[in-house]
Amino acid sequence: MNGKRQLGNRILLGLGFALMVAALYMVFIYAPTEKNTGIVQRIFYFHVPVAWVSFLAFFVTFVASILYLAKREMKWDAVACASAEVGVIFTTLVLLTGPIWAKAAWGIWWTWDARLTTSLVLWLIYIAYLLVRSLAPEADRSARYSAVIGIVGFIDVPIVFIAVNLWRTQHPSTIIFSGGLTGEMLQTLVVCIAAFTVLYILLVMQSAGLKRMEAAIQRLRSLQEE
């Protein structure tokens, strides 16, 4: 890595660390306790940023997939795959933190409303993305196929959301998230979103860089065998 990129990486790492420390402080000490649901509400400060990042991750995969199919440069495939992996991790966290919060706050693990169902389906689509990558033998084929899934899967998201929304308005949901956010809560949320977004960028950069190095080694190895 050249010096400039290394410096940029270091700055981003420092920024991410600082933001995460600030976020932790704000979530546990600075933000006031919500009056209806109590301490459990603080999961919200992790749940919302993680959900936002998971959607960002799949959008990045979508764009990188299109770029890969258009340009056939492996770096776009590396970014798409790295982003999908991080996206799956973050979506898993969403699906874990959400029910924990819901059970503690409202007494139910799950409800089939539009957002939860869309997250679940998104999770399944991108697990399929990762499965195809592991089951398609050659690098070029797995890159092409997963790029197609990255595109086709992302298009599905708004359709799923609309369909479930329509379905569930016939059966109104039982959860009502009432009350707005006070100034301090909003600040905490914004800092958390920033912290997790920087974390996402760092993870994807590391992962994509690693994949590119792995691909380069593979190429060298196959050249050596010839």
């Binding site: 199919l69 399929a128 089951l135 398609a136 086709v152 599905d156 359709i159 369909a163």
Partner: protein, 221 residues
């Protein structure tokens, strides 16, 4: 334009002739779909108002997936994929030919499964609304399933990979189809289900277009 339709028809008719002469795909898949219908009736009970739409759509979905598995598998097995690729046609033509084939196959499946389902649940047999829902939804299945079948056939665990890819993506079709089928079976007016048909139609159009655009990337060697 007419030539393109001609080419699509040739690919479609090749598959149809193969199937009509051998009947090796339709009969096992049909039996499987009927079994799913029966097993799920045991599982969910035979109450016409609550479980009936679900039972029908589970049978059509799983029967459809089983049929879709075979769309490109026959080509791959007999090394006919290379022959197909050598045809001097636009890759999209191959896609549309295969979609026409899968759609016809699933329609044939539905033509047998649905009357049996209606009889088992003591529902009226003549339901044009239901026919429309089934046609639109199966078109969506064909559009998505053909694309993923071409992908899955080249991977290691092809039989299980197709459902894993296909089912999450067609979730909106299944939700809309089940929600539209309920009112139709209960004899309610058209307006109840029009919005669901719109969703399925939008899905069909979006996916037929998107798959046409990306199919060449899937099928190139």
């Amino acid at each position: 334009m007419k030539k393109t339709f001609g080419k699509i028809f040739v690919i479609f008719w090749k598959d149809m002739l193969t199937e009509i002469r051998s009947r090796e795909m339709i009969i096992p898949v049909l039996v499987f779909a009927l079994l799913v219908l029966v097993i799920f009736s045991f599982a969910f009970g035979t109450g016409a108002d609550t479980a009936a739409p679900g039972v029908l759509w589970v049978a059509l979905t799983f029967g459809g997936v089983t049929g879709l598995n075979r769309v490109f598998a026959v080509e791959k097995e007999n090394s006919r994929m290379e022959g197909l690729m050598l045809c001097p046609v636009d890759r999209a033509v191959i896609y549309w030919g295969k979609v026409a084939g899968s759609f016809t196959f699933m329609l044939a499946l539905a033509l047998v499964v649905t009357p049996i389902f209606l009889a088992l649940f003591n529902l009226p047999l003549f339901l044009p609304g239901l026919a429309l829902i089934i046609a639109l939804a199966l078109l969506g299945f064909a559009a998505v399933g053909t694309l993923f079948s071409a992908m899955a056939v080249n991977t290691r665990a092809r039989e299980i990979l197709l459902p894993i890819l296909f089912l999450p993506v067609v979730v909106p079709v299944i939700i809309a189809a089940v929600q539209a089928t309920g009112p139709v079976l209960a004899g309610m007016p058209w307006e109840e289900m029009v919005i669901y048909l719109q969703i399925i139609t939008a899905f069909d159009i979006i996916y037929l277009v998107a798959a046409t655009l990306v199919f060449e990337f899937v099928i190139e060697e």
